[in-house]
Symmetry: C2
Subunit: 608 residues, 2 copies
Amino acid sequence: MSSLRPTIDFLLYDWLHADRLNERARFADHSRETFDAVLDTCERIAREKYAPFNRLVDTEEPRFDGEKVILPKATHDAHEAYVASGMLSAAQDYEEGGMQLPYTVEAAAGTFFATASVSIGGGLLTKGNANLLMVHGTELQKEVFARNEFGGRFSGTMALSEPQAGSSLSDIATRATPDGAGFEGDPLGPRYRLKGNKMWISAGEHELAENIVHLVLAKIPGPDGKLVPGTRGISLFIVPKKLVGTDGQLTGERNDVALAGLNHKLGWRGTTNTLLNFGEGKYPVRGGAGAIGYLVGKPGEGLRCMFHMMNEARIGIGLAATALGLAGYYASLDYAKNRPQGRPVGPAGKDASQPQVRIIEHADIKRMLLAQKSYCEGALALLLHCARLVDEQHTGTPGSAEEARLLLEVLTPVAKSWPSEFCLEANSLAIQVHGGYGYTRDFPVEQYWRDNRLNMIHEGTHGIQAADLLGRKVVMEGGKGLLLLAGRINATIERAIQQPHLAEHANALGQALQKVGAATKAAWATANPSDALANAVPYMQAFGHLVIAWTWLDVLLSVPAQPARPEDEGRQRAARYFFHYELPRIPAWLRVVETRDPTCATMPEEAF
Amino acid sequence: MSSLRPTIDFLLYDWLHADRLNERARFADHSRETFDAVLDTCERIAREKYAPFNRLVDTEEPRFDGEKVILPKATHDAHEAYVASGMLSAAQDYEEGGMQLPYTVEAAAGTFFATASVSIGGGLLTKGNANLLMVHGTELQKEVFARNEFGGRFSGTMALSEPQAGSSLSDIATRATPDGAGFEGDPLGPRYRLKGNKMWISAGEHELAENIVHLVLAKIPGPDGKLVPGTRGISLFIVPKKLVGTDGQLTGERNDVALAGLNHKLGWRGTTNTLLNFGEGKYPVRGGAGAIGYLVGKPGEGLRCMFHMMNEARIGIGLAATALGLAGYYASLDYAKNRPQGRPVGPAGKDASQPQVRIIEHADIKRMLLAQKSYCEGALALLLHCARLVDEQHTGTPGSAEEARLLLEVLTPVAKSWPSEFCLEANSLAIQVHGGYGYTRDFPVEQYWRDNRLNMIHEGTHGIQAADLLGRKVVMEGGKGLLLLAGRINATIERAIQQPHLAEHANALGQALQKVGAATKAAWATANPSDALANAVPYMQAFGHLVIAWTWLDVLLSVPAQPARPEDEGRQRAARYFFHYELPRIPAWLRVVETRDPTCATMPEEAF
């Protein structure tokens, strides 16, 4: 029976050899046993506290009673179980109360929650927020804010976007001005007053924790009172919902952060998504105007601090998309094994005198299931590989850490965007396998599809990821990242080509790599970004297919040529599906990249 | 400003020359003026009675109070306005109270309703039901049932599927047994008693009309009391919700048709979708057991009667999918023209000191808008062409009518499936253009996307359409239909190739045609349906892209080479988008067809 755990075990241990991470000093006390214990716990909590309530959090959306945001009891229970599991601080140092868990294992464990109920959430934002403070905060900021987040007393947000500035952070208009004489001397950090509106803030208001720590991007006006244009002027602030003393206890004062509205979404409804007003006077505090915030790092370095966390946040989105894809795959596989309908087409057509068969016996149903398996397990492998690179970056030798950093630069846009697009397609296939039943709310697949549609939008849209990939990542540092990736892909090809059963795939991958390389050059042939980037999304789609094909081929190197176990046969089939049905799509995407096709970019507005 | 009416006018008159239909005797009294009057009326009703209530019918789902199905008042008002417009009977003969409107114009007019609110509905089922009775019913059946449907007193359903038999009609288990001695003498038709459950019945219960005329497929047991396996045993029955006298008046007796449940769907929520119990004893009638039904046509010919209406029903689904795609296109175009965000990428990158631009100025937004335009206007052209073929079939010379019939056989699976898939993709792009706002229920695009997901499922799933196309339509009558289509495509190519600005497209289309032809042969090379049909869906996707490319090239023959009007420039661009970005996808789909790739079909169940 196909399910998530054996797939994760195979990828973690048979493929990535995560158990060998204990050769690193940081992970020396770990072993497969300790990793398995973490996976067991997360799997159990997800099964008991998340999965049974996935539909409930969809139908009982967060609502505001004027005072508080009301969430279902199930959300409170799930949050409590998650906090109790220790996963919020699992990756932290022992002396921080953590267990020095590798990110690879943390990421793998997170998929259980996302598969069970993506929108109840697994502390991703709180961890990202606290991790950022551990790197860029002062000792007291770590003590008062980060450690209370890891402990689950406080929860965290990332407050970047504004209603008039979604993807375009350089246009944020939230102002931060020094909070009176001596503002610099506040033990919690230079104290400012913030005024502005923040949009799309997940978990921006709720009662799950004692306090909410908002990490807010804002601009400090220059001496002329004007905001600096562009991203240079952006600084980062801690703005707690309720003020906190240096002892970490609430002072009893409400900060001037007010819920201006809840967003009512297509899916992902278990997570509160908010429009927040900072400093608009709803909760005047300490006799001044504006919400009180404490500077993190230096003025003007806000985006640099924030982007520090971006790789892991984007890997997190890719994992969420993948987990939803897998949830749909398992649901439709189960349905297909149990639903009788129709008869197989034999050499002589169909024989109506025979009993109906289960739909998994039909070739087209198998095609839709295998496509889902190929997309989602391929995506999962890529994401766990990326997580392993994060660990390498943090614990490898200087040389291998640097290579891991470079590879992550290039792979992260793919790790975020590819699952968002193709695991969504997998969810659509899961609906299709169910037929009319899949279109009803009596089955879970329509919700997975709705939930997954968010992932191409948040944490940098598809367009943003593509511009990042083609505009920056494959050309940065003289193309070093792309070269390194090509080297890794060639290494896989060289190993695979020696095995007769993999030679065809290896050759196909080599050709795809050559094509993507050539297209990258052709896109930049005029050295004009507006030529190169006009077709950045088709480029990213082709690039993503190359990366997933490479991932599958590399996975097959850990599978016997003549598999004895059905799951290994399944891996070979899923890879073959990808090489036969998906990889041949690359030329169509690259055609417009290579020719810098201007059909779209030069379309006159009035001709639409 | 892009909107539906000018596009329809162009396609109907400049391209299809629908105004020349008045050269046919049946349409002699018509003219562009009478057609325009119909379009004006439908456009106005759609704008006033449909569009403003599209969100309302999504949020106020049909509910059952134990007695009646409650629908919003807006649905009643829209239905009333639709009936008053005369569109239910517009295509009928003058002596039937109709206006002998060509189907081409009726189909075009229908898109206004579907764009405004697809799920309030435009009488498609009632018309299909009554049309069927006009062909296969007795004089009294026409008088009592069909004419009251055309007049709007009664509404109609098609009751085919059963819970255990969705796509597999040969497995229906609803039984029809003669209703006592003299059952054959009933003036309304041989009278039977029906028992069984019907699933997915749209408009199966409501209070919009005085009565509901169910057209029900059921099996008459043989002398041994057993049902004949397969589709041979299926007969067709009129089963009115309330019994009707020969004078067309209700007798006051409720027939034994009971609502067993409402389906709660992902979208398309304005339409009631039901599970109905026939003859289970909730409303015992005339002292017998079973719902009373009147045979239509001969026993065993039920499917033949039903399939008579299938082409138009499938064209109707294609039009609904297209209309939803267009609705999303217009909404996202409007948003893109008004939303400021970010700056264009120039040769020197971005300049943050410049003000933000409207997002329609970004190349990637233009790409997403042009893709929508290319998909949806291409689909609309194909569907109106199919509608024109329906008119040709009914009013052309014997030779051209026969050709139209053959072409429709081949084109109908594409006309149904292609828009269902690619106009859904258009809706996803419409969400993406909106960014985070598109994911909220404050904007209409998420609903279009949900509504459109139904179209790949109902009226024959994607898999069913693909098996029909590759398994039957392209090989039937010795491949005559495919040959005829190839001839039409070649005729377009020959005209286009003489125009320098179209020569590149014409050559690309020629190659695509050649590839699809070769793949068709290769698929059937073993003459084994299970080999050929294993990849029927990728075949249909390639075939569909061929047909849409042909349609676009043919449309361009009606556009000046150097367009003076922006809308003609837009058509050239949308076509170019299709030829540059979409047509090159064909080889990837055909690769598995040509090789009869067995990767999916032979996948062992335990390997999933």
